[in-house]
């Protein structure tokens, strides 16, 4: 089975790194992965999108996804093209309170306040990893330890000091994620 993820946000949120981390984690588990990136020239604030496809056999998915099973919506800006590709019923993680869960198509929507959670574990720069930890807790696409190992592997030598904080962010996201809306209905609490 192939599972597609679209990640959408703005430059500076760690969109590309979280997508690459998931794709590498799946690859290290011996599975097939594809990663497509799409971002503007701006360092921060411009559109940043990525898609990841994971499967147990050679992938059929196209590098421009015809549709996607799941989403991480880190920011509402520039998110419309990605949201338009989502198949109903799949899981989505939204970054609260920046993203309104009701802005998504009829999916099973989960929320996490990524900035607050990242700050609470003294990893304020790692909101992308909070979102990824939350996403993987919901979808269980890869083992949590695969994510942490891939995160460490992707850090360049001059960023290794962030490995522990990033790992805390991944774990905290997995704990903090909550249902925000069922497909077609609001969820109380």
């Amino acid at each position: 089975m192939e599972r597609e993820l679209v990640v959408t946000g703005i430059g500076g949120q760690g969109i590309q790194l979280l997508a690459k981390t998931l794709a590498l984690a799946a690859t290290r588990e011996g599975r097939h992965a594809m990663l497509s990136a799409d971002y503007g020239g701006e360092m921060r604030g411009g559109p940043s999108r990525a898609s990841v496809v994971i499967g147990d056999s050679p992938l059929r998915a196209l590098p421009v996804l015809a549709s996607a099973w799941s989403a991480i919506v880190a920011h509402h800006r520039f998110s419309e093209p990605a949201l338009a590709r989502l198949r109903p019923g799949g899981p989505a993680i939204v970054n609260l309170p920046l993203v309104d869960p009701s802005s998504l198509p009829p999916m099973v929507v989960y929320g996490v306040d990524a900035a607050a959670v990242a700050a609470s574990v003294d990893a304020p720069q790692a909101i992308g990893f909070v979102l990824l930890g939350a996403y993987n807790a919901v979808t269980r696409l890869v083992a949590p330890e695969s994510l942490a190992a891939a995160m460490e592997e992707l850090l360049p030598p001059y960023r290794k000091q962030h490995a522990a904080a990033n790992a805390r962010a991944l774990a905290a996201g997995a704990v903090a994620v909550r249902p925000a809306r069922r497909a077609g209905a609001e969820v109380a609490g």
């Binding site: 690459k20 794709a23 799946a26 011996g30 992965a33 594809m34 990136a37 590098p63 421009v64 015809a66």
Partner: protein, 359 residues
């Protein structure tokens, strides 16, 4: 088989090196730059050389020089830079110097450039057009094999999706069979005075050892390309037996078409696809057979209609051919526009199917 998550450019570079490429020269231009960067990172570790040339013209001529000395050599750019390389590519075709030109193109507008060429003389360039990164990894090695087999430059026609997407790939040397010895190479083994070899487009030879001259030489070159055309055309196809509608596409566009055709068949449409794997030689005989029973032959490419010419030449019935592609470029100018998208392609195919058929 262990998979590594590599960007297409990196995978192509690693595959070319696995095939024995030891010299690379080029000038940065998006989306080719990733291949140049990968080569510059990977080649020194295997004793190879990668040079950032002063321009594309220097890059291609450096590759020509290294190839003349017997190395597996390559250059690359995107179509805009390869436009500058046309003289050297034509010379290499005519003086039989084998190297590979990686066109990490921005779009599909270089079909004529690849298959017709912009240099002078009676020459052709074998052109491989992979549909995705796994095939690009294979073609990166096949290109060197075909170049050495036929002593001719070979073009690898990639694109931004192949250059910049990351996928899990496994890279190992591929065996395409034996090759003739490079007994023509200017490798210094003839020990000099009076015995030196010569590579010369006009083949006039030396005063003491005249060559065949341009007339005989260029007839032989033309005959060689005729022979290549008969044996090296490659294609893939599916569902041609019962297809009322056959969609012809190349490169990444063909992968998208394959995806859409699979959807449409699942919905009951009698539709198939045909993909030239080599753009030159164009698999004309195969296309003629594949289109013999089709009521519609749809050509999808992201340009104003270039491969369309070859389809019109070879289709069983020209009147069945319809063009459903078009120019489609991203705002940046560096990548495909909105037409490289499965839902859009699906709409165009369905619109053409709904337009009626030849009687």
């Amino acid at each position: 088989m262990t998979l590594e998550l590599l960007e297409g450019s990196e995978a192509i570079a690693a595959s070319a090196i696995a095939a024995g490429c030891r010299f690379f020269a080029g000038y940065p231009m998006s989306p080719f730059t990733g291949l140049l960067e990968s080569m510059s990172r990977l080649l020194p570790a295997v004793g190879g050389v990668c040079l950032n040339a002063e321009s594309e013209i220097e890059g291609v001529n450096m590759a020509l020089g290294a190839a003349a000395a017997g190395a597996r050599a390559a250059t690359g750019s995107c179509g805009q830079g390869i436009a500058l390389m046309q003289e050297a590519i034509a010379e290499a075709a005519l003086n039989e110097t084998p190297f590979v030109v990686f066109n990490m193109a921005r779009n599909q507008q270089d079909y004529f450039q690849s298959t017709r060429g912009g240099g002078w003389g009676d020459y052709r360039t074998i052109t491989l057009a992979p549909k995705d990164i796994p095939e690009a990894v294979e073609h990166a090695q096949l290109a060197f094999h075909l170049a050495d087999k036929h002593r001719a430059p070979v073009i690898f026609y990639g694109d931004p999706l192949i250059a910049q997407t990351r996928v899990g790939v496994s890279i190992r040397p591929l065996d395409f069979g034996p090759l003739p010895p490079k007994d023509w190479a200017l490798d210094g083994t003839r020990s000099g005075t009076g015995k030196s070899r010569q590579i010369w487009t006009w083949a006039m030879g030396k005063a003491t050892d005249p060559g065949p001259g341009p007339d005989r030489h260029w007839r032989a070159i033309a005959a060689k390309f005729d022979a290549i055309a008969k044996v090296e055309a490659r294609h893939e196809q599916a569902h041609v037996e019962d297809a009322e509608t056959l969609v012809v596409a190349f490169g990444s566009a063909a992968k998208f078409v394959e995806y859409v055709v699979a959807e449409l068949r699942a919905e009951g449409h009698r539709i198939g696809w045909f993909r030239p794997v080599t753009l030159w030689p164009f698999p004309g005989e195969a296309l003629a057979k594949a289109t013999a029973g089709a009521r519609r032959v749809l050509v999808f490419e992201l340009n104003a209609g270039q491969m369309l010419d070859d389809v019109l030449i070879h289709a069983a019935d020209r009147s069945a051919v319809r063009f459903i592609g078009g120019v489609s470029i991203a705002e940046s100018g560096l990548a495909y526009g909105e037409l490289m998208d499965a839902p859009v392609i699906r709409d165009r195919i369905l619109a053409a199917v709904g337009e009626g058929t030849r009687s």
